[in-house]
């Protein structure tokens, strides 16, 4: 029972606890023999086993699991899952892999083999690809590390749950003076206090603490704590990690996504057959699911424009004479508006789909993702008018026969007109703009269509921009002919919808909310523990605080009770 320590008992309390707690030795509550013996232990000698346990735990000794030397593989894995340093390392490994993913363009984000080869060369690309670095977030090893952390988090919180439970049910043992004197951080000693046990307990309870008392002859041990909620929440949110992981996996297996273009005024049928898009495991798990068939009708699609009421910054860099560009940049996209009808198995939903406002049908969401707005120009050649579609990032020229033709750098003829280059759209800015026009959020009419072209002269190399509209003709030079161009009224709008079916989202979000609430409670609400020994005329007090708070919170509380007089 009494171990043979001499002078300074528990000078290394942590080490001992590692053995005791780690092996989960069955702890026998209050051993009657021990209790009676302890009454006579003088200060400076050893505390009892029971006391020692409370002592070590009360000192925030960090639980560390132990491993038998002859342990097998399974035991090793469980040990590692239970070990916090391993979890911390796993977190750092996950961070490291994620960093790789931000340094190398990723396939799911649109990087293609050609991009890699031009950037890294074929050999490096091959190595990177075989290591999975070009699609790292979908590699087995990345997900295994994540899974490891999730399981480890659960294992850790379960093994530590036992300690939490013992604290919940049986927190009070006999706290002798040694218990207090061997606290590394010291304790408090209140002399000449004529407070009765009942008064003390009553005050603690009034202060909102859970109080446990153990009466001894002429004295008592008291344990009290506040905000035990914090302990529970730490257990709960460690489970959240695996809930999040499960949510993500469910989405990966049973979910699907993609995009579908729907031209204005038309109906498209979208068929999603999981058999075609899943890997073998996914296929096996979803083989019972019939293909999803959606019918999408785009009643109307428009791009709404607003205009700057003050000159935007980019005008500062524009020469004043670039009136076309200035006019063109004045208008910017306010919103993309699709009047969309979605049908799925007799369910019919109609909604005005905007960015941030998707349409849900058949537990699948359709988002406004992309769009195309292409224009037409009308060419008047000696009075004869003809209309042609123009696509972005393409150059055109009116040939001597009066036809508008696409040209590449080699095919422009000196006999034709100037070259009209239709620039590429960038970041929500299209070379053609057409749609309802607003000013500071108020509708003011209709814009365009206006089309931006760069005019490249045949002789001089000067370039300038012109903004065509349907009202004014723009003259081109072609010796012997009168050639004029303008925008045609017609514009083709195609709305592109991103769709996503993800039955795991709700689970994942639930886990995440649990995580946040748990973290909030754990970090913001302090858990205060007070250990007291009451004797006639004297009170010993030791207190700990976990969480973001003043470490002396517990002492302040006792001060208030005992020093108020």
């Amino acid at each position: 029972m009494h171990q043979a320590h001499n002078t300074l008992p528990l000078s290394h309390p942590q080490k001992e606890s590692i053995l005791k707690v780690g092996k989960e030795k069955k702890f026998q509550g209050e051993n009657p023999e021990a209790t009676s013996a302890s009454a006579h232990i003088p200060i400076g000698k050893l505390p009892l086993q029971a006391e020692e346990k409370v002592l070590t735990e009360s000192q925030e000794v960090y639980y560390e699991p132990t491993l038998r030397e002859e342990a097998g593989l399974w035991e090793l894995i469980v040990y590692l899952l239970n070990s916090l340093p391993t979890a911390v390392v796993a977190l750092m490994i996950l961070a490291f892999f994620a960093i790789i993913g931000t340094l190398i363009p990723q396939e799911p984000m649109g990087a293609e083999t050609a991009d890699y080869i031009s950037k890294y060369g074929p050999l490096k690309f091959k190595i990177m690809k075989s290591l999975g670095f070009t699609n790292i977030y979908n590699t087995v090893y990345f997900n295994l590390v994540f899974l490891w952390i999730a399981i480890s988090s659960v294992v850790c919180s379960i093994t530590r749950l036992r300690r939490t439970l013992s604290l919940w049910y049986r927190p009070v043992y006999r706290f002798t003076e040694i218990f207090f004197s061997s606290q590394k951080e010291g304790y408090k000693h209140y002399d000449n206090k004529d407070i009765t046990l009942e008064e003390l307990v009553g005050s603690l309870k009034r202060a909102g603490l859970r109080v446990f008392v153990r009466n001894e002859e002429e004295s008592a041990s008291i344990y009290a704590d506040k905000c035990f909620l914090r302990k529970w929440s730490a257990v709960v949110f460690h489970f959240s990690i695996i809930v999040i992981f499960i949510g993500g996996i469910i989405g990966k297996i049973w979910g699907f996504e993609g995009s579908v273009p729907v031209p204005e005024g038309e109906t498209r049928t979208l068929t999603v057959n999981l058999k075609q898009i899943k890997n073998p495991i996914g296929r096996a798990l979803t083989s019972y699911i019939k293909p999803y068939v959606f019918k999408l009708t785009l009643k109307d699609f428009r791009i709404e424009y607003d205009q700057h009421i003050k000159d935007p910054d980019l005008f500062k860099d524009l020469p004043v004479n670039e009136t076309a560009l200035r006019e063109y940049y004045k208008y910017y996209v306010r919103d993309y508006v699709s009047e969309l009808i979605g049908e799925y198995k007799g369910e019919r939903r109609e909604k005005r789909v905007l960015v941030n406002h998707p349409l849900g049908v058949g537990r699948t969401l359709f988002y406004q993702a992309s769009f195309a707005q292409t224009g037409y120009i009308t060419v008047s050649f000696d009075g004869r008018e003809e209309t042609y579609p123009v696509t972005p990032n393409t150059a055109y020229q009116v040939k001597p026969d009066g036809k508008l033709r696409e040209v590449t750098s080699g095919t422009a003829t000196p006999l034709g007109s100037e070259i009209l280059f239709h620039p590429e759209p960038q970041g929500g800015v299209f070379p053609v703009k057409a749609g309802p026009l607003f000013k500071a959020g108020e509708p003011v009419g209709y814009l365009g269509p206006i089309g931006l072209f760069e005019v490249v002269g045949k002789t001089d190399r000067g370039q300038r921009f012109v903004l065509l509209n349907p009202k004014e003709w723009f003259e081109l030079t072609l010796p012997g002919h009168t050639v004029k161009v303008k925008m045609a009224d017609k514009v083709d709008d195609v709305s592109i919808f991103q769709y996503k079916h993800d039955p795991g989202t709700a689970i994942l979000f639930t886990g995440w909310i649990g995580l946040i609430l748990g973290v909030l409670i754990t970090l913001y609400i302090p858990f205060v523990q007070v250990y007291l020994r009451w004797q006639r005329g004297k009170v010993l007090c030791y207190s700990t605080v976990q969480g973001a708070a003043d470490k002396t919170l517990g002492y302040q509380l006792i001060d208030k009770i005992l020093l108020k007089g």
Partner: protein, 336 residues
């Protein structure tokens, strides 16, 4: 006229004044008397920034007929973060009555302001916004993220002081005479632990928004990914502190490493992503990465780590387990 730049200059000037007052306050004997004045200067600068924020919000309102948080361009983002750092720092001063770390916290704010005034002033104007940004989620998500950045900044500044003191014995009397290292260590931790739930929530709110705007809650966009990386590192830091008992020097170094994650998330992704070909969907991700700004960022990332890891003498070999000085374990508890 765009929102007046004068208010930015006023804030810059008052923060400079506050910086020198804080420096004076901690280096000179009896200097601490000026510390409250430094706080007053901070307060004035903060009001000036607040005015700019309100005016800019009003301009957005006029333009878009909607409430928008002015944190959508690199300029606005740095401005808003500086605002939150000062705001949190002042609250921290009021709550803890600790005034001595002002100069350390301000150093980074001043670097930010210098960048705004001398490099980004041309981009201070109103921008046109992609429709996806016009959402109340912008306010919620960005505020949560930035509050966490701000608290991690304050925490890292204090951790840097700790590291400088422990390893190189570079400290100032005004701090060392009143603050035992344990207290500095703990302050740094407490502020980080204040920010951690905000980071957790901020990432989640971003995911909810992304789910609404793009139909996916997570897309491994570089900025998203870096926020996650920073979160992983801070989670590891929290565990090292709470469950492995790390304290002192080791923990301070860990804090600085984790803070690098924040620097990259906040600004590094914008500056680097272009050159790496990994485009980000995030709002102010189009900032220009001139050689100068990149150099400053790399210095910010690396200097604290060099200070921490360079071979040098540690003041106390066992810095990781400081003893309480107030109540010694050997001496019997005293009558309070």
């Amino acid at each position: 006229m765009q929102t007046s730049f004068v208010y930015i200059l006023i804030a810059y000037f008052t923060y400079l004044c506050a910086f020198f007052l804080y420096l004076y306050g901690i280096t000179f004997k009896r200097g601490s008397a000026v510390l409250p004045f430094a706080s007053v200067f901070l307060g004035i600068g903060l009001l000036s920034q607040l005015y700019w924020l309100i005016a800019r919000t009003y301009e957005y309102w006029q333009q878009h007929k909607g409430f928008l948080l002015p944190a959508t361009s690199l300029f606005e983002a740095i401005h808003f973060l500086a605002f939150l750092i000062i705001l949190l720092y002042l609250i921290f001063e009021i709550v803890t009555k600790v005034r001595v770390f002002g100069a350390y916290v301000l150093a980074l704010v001043l670097i930010g302001f210098t960048y705004l005034v001398f490099f980004l002033s041309g981009e201070s104007g109103l921008r046109e916004l992609p429709p996806a940004l016009k959402s109340y989620w912008l306010v919620i998500h960005v505020s949560a993220m930035f509050i966490s950045y701000a608290s991690f900044t304050i925490s890292a500044a204090i951790a840097l002081y700790y590291v400088l003191k422990e390893k190189w014995n570079i400290g100032v009397k005004g701090i060392d005479s009143t603050f035992p290292p344990e207290r500095i260590d703990r302050l740094s931790y407490l502020i980080a632990s204040f920010g951690y739930p905000f980071l957790t929530a901020g990432i989640f709110l971003g995911a909810v928004w992304a789910n609404e705007a793009w139909g996916r809650y997570w897309g491994w966009d570089p900025k998203e990914t870096w926020a996650a990386i920073a979160w992983f590192i801070y989670t590891a830091y929290m565990h090292a502190r709470l469950a492995l008992g790390w304290k002192g020097f080791k923990a301070a170094v860990f804090n600085l490493v984790a803070y690098d994650g924040i620097i990259i998330t906040f600004i590094g992704v914008n500056l680097i992503s272009g050159s790496l070909g990994a485009e980000s969907i995030h709002a102010y991700a189009s900032g220009k990465g001139s050689l100068w700004t990149l150099a400053v960022m790399f210095l910010l990332l690396i200097v604290p780590l060099v200070i921490a890891f360079a071979p040098g003498k540690s003041r106390s070999s066992d810095a990781s387990s400081p003893q309480h000085t107030s109540t010694k374990p050997s001496s019997k508890g005293k009558h309070p």
